[in-house]
Symmetry: C2
Subunit: 384 residues, 2 copies
């Protein structure tokens, strides 16, 4: 198949920052792209060949979009699966497959999948509703504390709550959900696996999420993780097993806990480029976005090793600021060697909205970590 | 000035591959861009915020384009200077300045500039026409061999001819020209200098053009150049001097000869991102395109050092092939670690047309050079 400067068209469902960064690679290879997103301000409306405004959850919209392209991929999981299943039936290649998306979209099904495939994960119980979860507590079948997760459409921290007592249940929505054991972990790790149509597989190095010591928030994504080589190897093996069990095509980001006694438990997966792989644009021989593209087009996978140490800092809107965004002190951080801001292109900031990220690279990890802290303490996402 | 996700608009004159690669950086920073190019198939029509089709040499077109933007830059020298001068007079910042473009556009004026500013360059004579050059030969004021260069609008080898006898003059156009001494050189080198509005200056490492042993064609651009440290230092000092003498803002690519006795002579300059800096996308901490943007926006310049050794191979159309392009064996080279093709997005190939380039990076230069040869011997730009 000739993808380069040809009539071949790749369709991308979703036009957020992941789509935008994926487009940087399609432009590099001059591969034609169509993008569908419901927002007229979608970051990925620039850099594609054609942008379509429409709902990703609407059967007709997704189906008709799919009929215009030669291959379909996603940058967000929440898409209309019925449309994808029909398109696939009619012969359109879709990576990741609708079947995998179906398994992953629902966190209960995702957990069942791990259990069925001998993939280590925390203990959990599924509930059709909050009511049935409350029943379960009443009947002493579920004990506090536990982690409540809504089964579907959670995103970036919404849809997750640590429940210590009945009080914590009061404001939860009455939706399908799971209750998980709370895992006291040493580290939160992630491994991105690239797997191509013909089954070539490569894993990126294990990355580590470093949390703020007080606020329970990821501050830095650090590559490579500063962990024992044996633990890293175990994490990579498990991530590979997850990718193979799903028979996954494209990128799969596997988030894991390293427990107090160095067990690895899979937390959840994302079947696409992922926040934990953004460092790869500057630090890796081949970025996660390029490898997603290579995988779904069945091109040879690129080298996932790093040229230098990489740390990623998310740029999220400061609490209390709404409206046209200003990146305070961005000039200051750009004056530091090895610092690259990525601005996603959202005109308006809101508290905790993901507005961009900053990558810090350095030959030396200790130095990179110092610079990352300086970056974190300098830049502020506020409004005019 | 707030450039990021703001109303600020950068205008780019020219929509070729240099414009396209510059847009990758404006997208990363979410800086709004308008692009003007005469071709409806311009590679940079995607990735900008608005594309305008029109002639870069047409006063009204360039002037009206300039009135829509807040800052103007170029990706090609051959633009209407009268329009730029009027826009500058009316207060529009233009980098590089029309004055510098005026000095560089004409190779005779460029050579005079070197002479006037004590910048080492080969001996030369200026002629208003071919006729007056022939006169000069008749009067024994000019001897064979010499290098003929048309003074204006030459590009990539067209407009240059080595003249060994009167026979070589027969097919030359009757235009303003220069005759230069032919320099027997050890190496052809280049240094890219970034200089910002407020005068911050950084130079990229010296790169080396490696020629095919038989065909007189650059095969590889190699960074860093495999030359003596003292020679490299001299080349960088001279490049800096050229940039400062022009009072240049933005990138200036300075092409130089290293003579048999290690003199450095300036050959010519390009006031913009340059083919000799394409390796920087994969090999450098900050690519030439990002630094051009930083320089003209008066942001701090990024680190010009390399993470790894880089070699660039141009992808030009094979002789004898015309029409819809096919990149033969591109999958084969993509299977090699550290190999990244860049496909510019020209649908039709022609003999020797610049269609793309391939970057090879490796921690080890010897290994990179081996891979570069493998790449060069594998990929072919042909037509369907």
């Amino acid at each position: 198949m000739n993808y380069f400067s040809s009539d071949f068209k790749l369709g991308i469902l979703g036009g957020g920052q992941l789509g935008k960064m994926l487009l940087a690679e399609t432009r590099k290879f001059d591969i034609q792209t169509f993008v569908l997103d419901q927002s007229p301000e979608a970051p990925a409306q620039y850099g594609c060949n054609q942008f379509f405004e429409g709902s990703l959850m609407h059967f007709e919209t997704v189906y008709r979009f799919g009929k215009m392209v030669d291959l379909l991929t996603i940058e967000i999981e929440n898409v209309n699966l019925e449309a994808l299943l029909k398109l696939e039936e009619e012969g359109l290649p879709i990576y990741p497959s609708p079947k995998t998306l179906h398994q992953i979209q629902n966190k209960g099904r995702q957990k069942d999948f791990y259990a069925d495939n001998d993939i280590p994960t925390s203990n959990f119980k599924r509930f059709v509703s909050l009511k049935s979860l409350q029943e379960s507590i009443k009947n002493d079948e579920l004990d506090f504390p536990f982690v409540w997760k809504c089964a579907q459409f959670g995103y970036d921290g919404t849809g997750v709550k640590i429940c210590r007592s009945a009080l914590d249940l009061v404001k939860l929505p009455d939706v399908e959900c799971i209750a998980e054991d709370r895992i006291p972990f040493k580290n939160e790790l992630a491994v991105i696996v690239a797997r191509s149509v013909s089954g070539e597989v490569k894993t990126y190095p294990v990355v580590e999420m470093e949390f703020h010591p007080e606020a329970n928030q990821v501050e830095y994504v650090i590559c490579p993780a500063r962990i024992d080589e044996k633990v890293a190897q175990k994490a990579q093996e498990i991530a590979l097993k997850v990718s193979e069990s799903f028979n996954h095509i494209g990128l799969l980001a596997v988030e894991m806990f390293q427990t107090e006694n160095d067990e690895i438990l899979v937390n959840e997966v994302a079947p696409r480029p992922h926040n934990s792989g953004h460092y790869s644009i500057e630090a890796s021989y081949t970025s996660q976005f390029e490898n997603h593209l290579r995988a779904i087009l069945d091109l040879p996978l690129g080298n996932t090793a790093s040229k230098v140490a990489g740390i990623m800092v998310n740029l999220v809107g400061e609490d209390g600021f709404y409206g046209p965004v200003v990146y305070e002190n961005i000039e200051k951080i750009m004056a530091i060697d090895g610092v690259t801001p990525h601005i996603y292109g959202k005109r308006e900031t809101r508290p905790f909205r993901k507005m961009g990220h900053v990558t810090i690279v350095n030959e030396n990890m200790v130095e990179a970590r110092k610079v990352a802290e300086e970056v974190k303490n300098s830049i502020r996402v506020v409004s005019v």
